[in-house]
């Protein structure tokens, strides 16, 4: 029985079984083949490739594989040559890419060709010359032979008996104790993930009397500097970029200052905490803490680039869209005797994303 005939005969056999059943009213004339309507059709007969039957084609394949390996060798040599010869700062124009570094381009190109040709050669070799005869590999039961199982159980019982684990209880109990305690050292090491933040998340560098310093000019801001519709970023006085703690502190203290016509400010507390319409808000999104400053001066909306949380700066920085959980904290500001903008305290609530104990 050729395996190729089976798929064609399978379906008709099934149909004829049904029709036969109807016509003959259960005379039970089923052929042996019909007992297995879904019999394994087996593999189709093997077909030879042109390289298997034509030695000239095989030679051609061999030459192309060798050619690819040779190109790879040349490309590697070109890679070394390019590394030696091309100066690191030379730039070339290559059409779809634009002005790019000549060295980077040459290195990437030659190494790419070298690796690609090895792979392509190997694939071509496997597809045209290596044996492609289909092989069926039978599965075996996972369970071991009964003799092997018996041997293992006997060995285990004998070992348990010889070690006297059941009899010498002192050893057994102390061993269990030791094994129980040893993972504790790993648990204790987790303490090094700390120290706990304690109050750090609740306070920033802002405090009463600290001047608002313009991030661009490093000069304290005056109310007249901040025009309606403008956007300014400020840091607390005394925090310099070369300070060791700068990144940690600015991550909490970063401030976004805008000026809104007082009659356009809808939130009463916001107006109270502003100075002539100048409002100062935390620049840290309350969702996951991205710096947020995509300010639209006509709508007074601020958009977070990470997850599109949108806050309305004219209405207490209320969340009007997106996943943020609460409004941006506002910093209460005023003007000192010398006419500079100053903070009138720290933020009233923790800045940035929520945490378990935030309350």
């Amino acid at each position: 029985m050729s395996s190729q005939e089976i798929p064609e005969e399978n379906l008709p056999a099934e149909q004829s079984e049904q029709t036969a059943g109807h016509d003959e009213h259960g005379h039970g004339a089923l052929s042996p083949k019909d007992e297995h309507p879904f019999a394994d059709p087996g593999l189709p007969p093997h077909e030879h490739r042109i390289q298997d039957v034509d030695e000239r084609a095989a030679k051609r394949s061999e030459r192309s594989v060798a050619l690819m390996f040779t190109v790879s060798m040349l490309a590697t040599i070109a890679f070394i040559a390019a590394f030696v010869a091309i100066p690191v700062d030379r730039s070339v124009y290559i059409f779809p890419l634009g002005h790019i570094s000549a060295l980077n381009f040459a290195l990437g190109m030659t190494l790419g060709i070298a690796l690609f040709c090895i792979g392509a050669g190997a694939v071509h070799w496997a597809r045209t010359l290596m044996s492609d005869v289909e092989i069926a590999d039978e599965r075996h039961p996972i369970e071991a032979e009964p003799e092997v199982r018996e041997k293992v159980f006997a060995d285990f019982k004998q070992g348990a008996k010889e070690s006297a684990l059941g009899r010498r209880k002192l050893i057994r109990n102390t061993m269990f104790g030791a094994l129980t305690l040893v993972p504790l050292s790993g648990v204790v090491l987790l303490r090094d993930l700390g120290p706990l933040p304690e109050e750090k998340l609740r306070h920033t560098l802002w405090s009463r009397g600290k001047l608002l310093v313009n991030m661009n000019t490093n000069e304290p801001l005056r109310p007249s500097d901040v025009a309606v519709g403008s956007l300014t970023f400020a840091k607390p006085e005394g925090l310099e970029e070369h300070d060791h703690e700068f990144q940690n502190e600015i991550a909490k203290a970063a401030l976004m200052i805008v000026r809104i016509q007082p009659e356009n400010i809808k939130d009463k507390r916001e107006l109270e905490w502003s100075h002539e319409g100048i409002v100062a808000y935390s620049k840290i999104c309350t969702h996951v803490g991205c710096p947020i400053s995509l300010y639209e001066q006509q709508t007074h909306h601020v958009l977070c680039p990470c997850h599109q949380s949108t806050f309305d700066l004219s209405d207490g920085a209320r969340v009007i869209f997106g996943p943020a959980g609460h409004a941006l904290p506002q910093l209460r500001i005023g003007v000192n005797d010398e006419g500079y903008l100053e903070a009138l305290g720290d933020f009233e609530e923790p800045v940035g994303p929520a945490f378990w104990e935030r309350g």
């Binding site: 496997a126 991030m215 001066q297 949108t310």
Partner: protein, 270 residues
């Protein structure tokens, strides 16, 4: 006189007359131009404003009101300054189409620079505002590109992307790509804050700072900017690069893997 008229048909007569005429008109200009300049300045200025007002009533008044006081269709232009006019009209954003979407887009400018200057002079006469910057203010001389990059990342990159490629805002608004925008218009945009862009007045972002930013943009986002890493994929950062890697890189690898394991060409059965 008789001598002159006798030689009026001389071959060189025409040349002499032409030379005399040139001398005469040149002399007239030399006599009048410098002296008249000072006193004509004011009248020329008011003339420019007059011209500007005419252009204004044709092209702008329907939305911004006959006196620039604004209507429900357009904001008041009192105090926006000449820089705002030069930016809005020079980039073709104004006059805007009547049915505008979320944002007025950049389009072809329909006014000549002279007409824009007249319009700007008229609007500036309505109320004091930022003037049109000079070449000296936005030119590349003496600018610090590194400092410009720092300032750009602090003040601008949140909307315009790290190299000024632009990005999306809310409700269909967007920050435009800054490639090909002239230094003057970039300067004016920072100073005046067109549409939803906040302004960055000289009090918080100094003239030098603006110059640095313009020089930085010229270095990273212009036809001559370099991309040492090769394909920049729109300069949109790791998201676009990652997406490209996942779709084209991994997709390509899967396609190759399928091809490698596919049936090879068989010899024809005889």
């Amino acid at each position: 006189m008789k001598k002159l008229s006798a030689r009026r048909r001389h071959p060189l007569a025409a040349v002499v007359v032409l030379l005399l005429a040139l001398l005469f008109s040149g002399g007239l200009y030399a006599v009048f131009a410098p002296t008249s300049k000072a006193e004509a300045d004011e009248t020329a200025q008011s003339l420019t404003i007059e011209e500007g007002k005419k252009l204004y009533s044709v092209g702008c008044a329907s939305c911004h009101g006959t006196g620039g006081q604004g209507t429900s269709d357009g904001p008041s232009l009192v105090g926006v300054g000449a820089a705002a006019v030069d930016f809005q009209v020079g980039t073709g954003r104004m006059p805007a189409a009547t049915s505008q979407g979320p944002q007025v887009p950049k389009k072809k400018n329909i006014y000549s620079q002279a007409e824009i200057d007249q319009l700007a002079a008229y609007i500036a006469s309505l109320g004091a505002g930022p003037a049109i910057p000079t070449e000296e203010q936005y030119g590349p001389q003496g600018a610090d590109i590194a400092k410009g990059g720092e300032l750009f990342r602090t003040n601008c990159a949140q909307c315009h992307n790290f190299t000024g490629k632009g990005g999306a805002l809310t409700h269909g608004k967007y920050a435009p790509d800054l490639e090909g925008v002239s230094p003057k218009h970039i300067y004016e945009a920072m100073e005046t804050g067109p549409q939803n862009m906040p302004s960055f007045p000289d009090t918080t972002l100094s003239e030098e700072n603006k110059k640095d930013i313009i020089a930085y943009l010229d270095a990273v986002n212009s036809s001559k900017s370099e991309s040492p890493g090769g394909l920049e994929l729109g300069g949109l950062g790791p998201v676009s690069e990652g997406l490209f890697g996942w779709i084209f890189g991994l997709g390509g690898l899967i396609a190759v893997a399928v091809w490698v394991a596919a049936r090879t060409a068989k010899a024809k059965k005889s």
